[in-house]
């Protein structure tokens, strides 16, 4: 059963009492929200996620009302992971951003049985493109564009590599567009489903994009990587896709991982294997049509 298959009323009751338990890729997340301002938003954006019954949840998160000493008359919310709050309270309008950010943080600090890259990951024809996030890469925007043009979303944030099987695991989550990229995507992809704009967050204005339904439905299907593409968005530049030396790709990829060092030798082996089995490129782009054509050529 998916979130959308229960009524909004039921959803709100569950959310604010015992919490809802949804499957997000390989993890189950128990979400309990006492501040219900954004429950409607969450219901819409999470409608395709599977509700979990009688299975272990790895993450127990809550978003609760909080009071700020500095600003006692505005409502605030606090994100809690197992009762601990990993970052300061935020204004109530940012509750959805707090929840999404908090879940990402929870994954990043706890998961060590998988190698975690800070990368966008998409799949086409059964093979995966890993696009590590470097500053200014615009990985979320790139990811949103690709997944609305036939690519399957694994994640706009996490490359989860199972080192034993050598395969990436999908973890499709809401994709937060920032600032100018919101308008860019609204123009380029009118069909994309965006949540409300949340102004004044730490990263400016944010709007969350729903993953395509198919990506969520197929989020148990893992796949091997074939290409590693380091993207960079540069305004008004013609597209360039150039091979990257392996040693440089190794360095960039190892540095891109959250837990490369934690995983020790298996991390080293996994990155070595990735570089040996993938083609590594550097990509500079500005135009989405050019981008999609180039990626199609690459993956055909």
């Amino acid at each position: 059963m998916t979130v959308g298959q229960i009524t909004l009323e039921r959803f709100i009751v569950l959310l604010s009492n015992q919490g809802i338990r949804v499957r997000v890729g390989p993890f189950n997340v128990q979400i309990n929200v006492t501040s219900t301002v954004f429950a409607n938003q969450l219901y819409l954006l999470y409608k395709d996620y599977e509700l979990v019954e009688n299975d272990i949840a790895e993450f127990h998160v809550r978003v609760v009302s909080a009071r700020s000493i500095k600003r006692p008359f505005t409502s605030h919310v606090r994100f809690l992971l197992d009762g601990q709050s990993p970052f300061p309270i935020l204004p109530e309008e940012q509750a959805l951003a707090a929840l999404e950010w908090g879940i990402n943080l929870s994954i990043a600090v706890r998961v060590n049985h998988l190698l975690l890259f800070h990368s966008a990951v998409v799949e086409r024809n059964g093979q995966v493109i890993v696009a590590p996030a470097l500053p200014g890469s615009g990985k979320t925007t790139l990811c949103v564009a690709l997944v609305h043009r036939g690519y399957r979303l694994f994640s706009d944030e996490f490359g989860l590599l199972d080192p034993q099987r050598g395969e990436f695991l999908p973890i499709p989550r809401l994709m937060p567009l920032k600032n100018e990229s919101i308008g860019v995507i609204e123009n380029y992809l009118p069909e994309a489903q965006l949540g409300q704009k949340i102004p004044n967050t730490q990263k400016g204005t944010i709007a969350h994009v729903c993953p395509p339904k198919e990506s969520i439905v197929r989020s148990r299907e893992s796949a091997k990587a074939r290409w590693i593409v380091f993207p960079k968005w540069v305004a008004d530049t013609p597209l360039r896709l150039e091979q990257l030396p392996d040693s440089e790709a190794f360095l960039l990829l190892a540095n891109n991982s959250f837990n490369y060092e934690v995983m020790g030798e298996s991390g080293f082996q996994a990155v070595t294997h990735l570089i040996k089995t993938c083609d590594c490129y550097q990509l500079v782009y500005s135009d989405f049509d050019d981008l999609i054509n180039a990626m199609n050529d690459l993956t055909n």
């Binding site: 299975d55 790895e58 127990h60 706890r110 049985h113 934690v262 995983m263």
Partner: protein
């Protein structure tokens, strides 16, 4: 005196005592167990227990993955602390200063079973007080640094504490804590540290020393019941339990030596609590009535009170519904930990200053304390 377990605590303690029983847990029990184990840093320990009995494949995959994640992290921290020791000993080559490695790294060097699942974050070692300056300056010349401290904290470390401000290598993250004795100088315990060096055990492979078995147990007990605030410190009690079991199986007259040494060093009380709570909470097998031979034991009322409070602090709070009684117990033991570390004329200004900082953190840098 027995301690009435809360049901979530029973789940955790049963898991530690008989890992085989874990195979029968249902979904919600697994979830509650893992959340508690994570809180008290015992995921790696449970993973090792299950691995040893070849059961890690027979439990729900989501539980196994979380335990594995905990174990991988524990092993990384161990690798870091052991490597830090390697580099510290490298840096001290040619200085010829006796070093005694303490706590987690020392337990591993002593060959304590199951220590490979233990989480230890820092490298702790002890040198004679007269060698302290030399060690500190040698390490500082070879790449270690101290974080800038406020003059209050600097003074606290230098005048009152049993260790100096931690050193951290500029290219690595592991904190190096250098001790010159085992309890704060302000506490009532006055310890002749030379006695530890006289009987320290040489570890050939790494060319360093660790405390003798009985001293290691005493240090562990002092650290838990004298230096710590006890909240979520179950792991430290488990260390006492593991050390007692390991050494008493290895050495025939271990218990006799332990009691004698505690009396000699006047560490009877922390050892009493160590033995008592290890037995009460973790069912350690300890010969009957040996604690009666300790010269310094807590009074009946004190023990009654500690029996009420200690388990509530050591064992984790229920992750969804923390009991008020447990929160209050933790508050009382927090107060106790400060009380026994410092005389009252130092304690009140110290806590007032810490409280002041928690409200006005920015002031820390500008506040000067006049001696």
């Amino acid at each position: 005196m027995s301690y009435t377990q809360q049901s979530h605590h029973r789940l955790l303690l049963d898991a530690l005592n008989s890992p085989g029983s874990l195979v029968g847990l249902n979904t919600s029990e697994w979830e509650l167990l893992i959340r508690q184990a994570r809180k008290v840093k015992l995921l790696g320990r449970l993973a090792v227990e299950l691995n040893n009995s070849a059961l890690l494949e027979n439990i729900p995959i989501r539980a196994a993955n979380q335990l594995r994640s905990g174990l991988i992290q524990a092993r990384k921290l161990q690798q870091q602390t052991h490597w830090e020791l390697n580099r510290v000993l490298w840096a001290l080559q040619g200085v010829e200063i006796p070093v005694i490695v303490l706590k987690g790294v020392a337990y591993a060097l002593a060959g304590l079973p199951k220590s490979d699942g233990r989480v230890y974050v820092d490298l702790d070692f002890m040198v004679a007080r007269s060698d302290l300056l030399c060690v500190e300056s040698t390490l500082k010349q070879k790449g270690w640094q101290q974080n800038k401290l406020s003059s209050y904290d600097e003074n606290y470390y230098r005048v009152w504490s049993h260790e100096i401000p931690p050193l951290i290598h500029t290219e690595r993250e592991t904190e190096v804590d250098i001790h010159h004795t085992i309890a704060p100088l302000t506490s009532k315990l006055k310890i002749n540290t030379d006695l530890f060096f006289e009987v320290a055990v040489v570890v050939e492979d790494v060319n360093t020393q660790i405390l003798s078995p009985v001293d290691m147990v005493l240090h562990c007990a002092v650290n838990l019941f004298q230096n710590n605030e006890l909240s979520d410190d179950l792991r430290d009690l488990l260390d006492i339990h593991d050390l007692l079991q390991f050494f008493s199986n290895k050495e025939a007259d271990f218990w006799k030596k332990l009691i004698e040494r505690a009396n000699q060093l006047r560490l009877g009380r922390p050892l009493f609590y160590g033995l008592h709570f290890s037995q009460v909470i973790l069912k350690t097998s300890i010969p009957a009535a040996i604690a009666d031979k300790l010269n310094e034991r807590p009074g009946r009322i004190q023990l009654w009170l500690m029996d009420k409070l200690v388990p509530l602090a050591l064992l984790p709070l229920h992750p969804d519904k923390p009991a008020r009684s447990a929160l209050f117990a933790r508050f009382l033991l927090y107060s106790r930990s400060h009380w026994i570390r410092m005389p009252l004329y130092l304690l009140l200004p110290h806590l007032t200053y810490k409280k002041f900082l928690s409200v006005f953190p920015r002031k820390a840098a500008t506040t000067e304390i006049k001696k």
